[in-house]
Amino acid sequence: MRLRGKDMVGLRNSTAQEIELILNTAEAMKGIVNRQIKKVPTLRGRTVITVFYEASTRTRTSFELAAKYLSADTVGVAAATSSVSKGESLKDTARNIAAMGADVVVLRHPMAGAAELLAGTLKASVINAGDGAHEHPSQGLLDLFTAREKKGRLEGLKVAIIGDIMHSRVARSDIWGYTRMGAEVRLAGPSTLMPKDIEKMGAKVCGNIEEALADADVINVLRIQTERQQQGLFPGLREYSRMFCVNRERLRLAAPDALLMHPGPMNRGIEISPDVADGLQSVITEQVTNGVAVRMALLYLLIGGGAR
């Protein structure tokens, strides 16, 4: 089995079989990550270029390590140091990078649709590492992987996503991924940060956080960005925290063995209380490990032995 397309720009277009294939492959990859000698020759001679138009430590490092563990060569391009700052268009930048022989371009970009624009331009595979508020499929996949690993299944799970849904590409990839695998997704957050018609994506919008958390098996807490307050989208962090912070008391509403996730970076004490973030139910650091495995799986399936 293999993936249908040459790219991974979002989970909206992925079938349940494809998601399953990626998660199964990631399981094998996690074995490599856990070894003392983290190196297999699978992608030797292949080149992965990460192009990041937004600051990111975790995702970028995760992709670069994933490529290195598979023996691919990696180069990172940061927008600030590239010709982007000289006014070169995204497409021209990408064409030049591809002309140097990249097999995979990993793109992080502040604007929705940027990865699709590149995918349509380049022969190389494009992996979307987050485009505006559109999708962040590798994050969605690592969330699914973590949930499946801990719970043994995805079907029938109750998943609560809490916070700024409107600006979250993670929420969108999660909704597509979880619902496609048969899980139930509930959303809660300030109504001004709940995008219109999101229930048409297959998620349930809850009127308050308690409703979303009731008997939940997985809780994904999103980062609240302070600049959204400056934009007037909600009145203040104090009130936000009072109404939407996932704390110990609220966590009790969920299933006793509920998993607590956060895509990072966390605002401790605002969207999540520190004791919960570091508590027994938190799988936040495991998510990071699993992220490397999932990204290895994506690289392998797109350009490795299993590729077209």
């Binding site: 505006g132 590409r169 995008p195 219109k196």
Partner: protein, 434 residues
Amino acid sequence: MKLIIKGGLVVDPVAGSVLKKDILVVDGKVARIGSNLSVDGAAVIDAAGRLVAPGLIDMHVHLREPGFEAKETIYTGTRAAARGGFTAVACMPNTNPVIDNAALVGSVINSARSGGLVHVYPVGAITRGSRGEELAEMGDMAEAGAVAFSDDGTPVANAGLMRRAMQYAAMLDKPLISHSEEKSLSAGGSMHEGRVSTILGLKGIPACAEEVMVARDILLAEETGCRVHIAHVSTAGSVRLLREARARGVRVSAEATPHHFTLTDEAVMGFDTFTKVNPPLRTEDDLAAVKQGLADGVIDVIATDHAPHTAEEKDVEYERAPFGLAGLETAVGLVWTELVATGVLTPLRAITCMTLNPARILGIPKGALAPGSDADITIIDPALAGVVDPAKFAGKGRNTPFAGRVLKGLPWLTMISGKIVMRGGVLLEENQQQ
């Protein structure tokens, strides 16, 4: 120079008739309209099976000159118009500089006279530089030939200023064309706010961003008595507001574009920047309401909002791309395919929306066929079908979301003052024109 258009169905929007008649054109004017005309030495155009209409008028185009000649010029834009079956266009003032004084109005008219292929009627700005701060000299511009006033693209945000503009335009008996958009509701948006914008993660422009301004300008029109024309109506709510206003007798007219009655926000899926227009493509319900408004007369005019851009400007991230599509060369085909063939509009109603109605709103002596009138004539062949091919466009802007679409019912001949400038979809060179 004599010419007879024989055997066509002559569409007369003034009489409200569609009758098989011949038209004799002599020296650029309509000489006679009658049955079985024959005149010695007259060239004959066989229009059997075709509709012979007054020259079509597009009251909302962007010719981009001066200032944005890479996108379009008066020369290329008027050729796009002729190829699309139009004999006259009204051009919007959001050029660089903005057409906000009599000298600039004069310069557009002069450029159109020397290089334009169809008649060009400039629309002047409401406020200086379209900055929305102080009134432009509308009186001078009207005298110089401006047919209407609009800050199209940058709506007049200040209600007090818009009210004064209406009072002033009423004195001049010129219409104000309202680009109805409340920027505090639309800011940062690049498509309709709804299911698709949520899926794509693009900031949305809610329907109310348009409707709030339509409501405001209807109320101001009612109070000032000014003739107000609502440009590019895109939402069901706007159609409802217009219907109520018309029932009260408010002097408000409105237009809809072919893209707003053809495409919905679903077309944005895939991030094709050619679908990025302002106002944005809306939903099925909105599309149905716009069609209904055109059918029952609440919307008077079909206009294209022809907004050409260069390939480079559109070949970028969706949020970064400019709004607008090139509409002149697909308009008639879309009207016929989407509205006439489907029974939404009769051929007479469709043609009235592109001839008599815009002519009356703009107060120009066009849009009718009668002995003595200029021989501006468009012949539409309802059986002629073709695939939209932007490479064949006469205009510079190739930014159309309709490439590859099969349209049936196309302009077959464009005649301006008795001169055939387009035949069979092909522009005729100067030396071929009769």
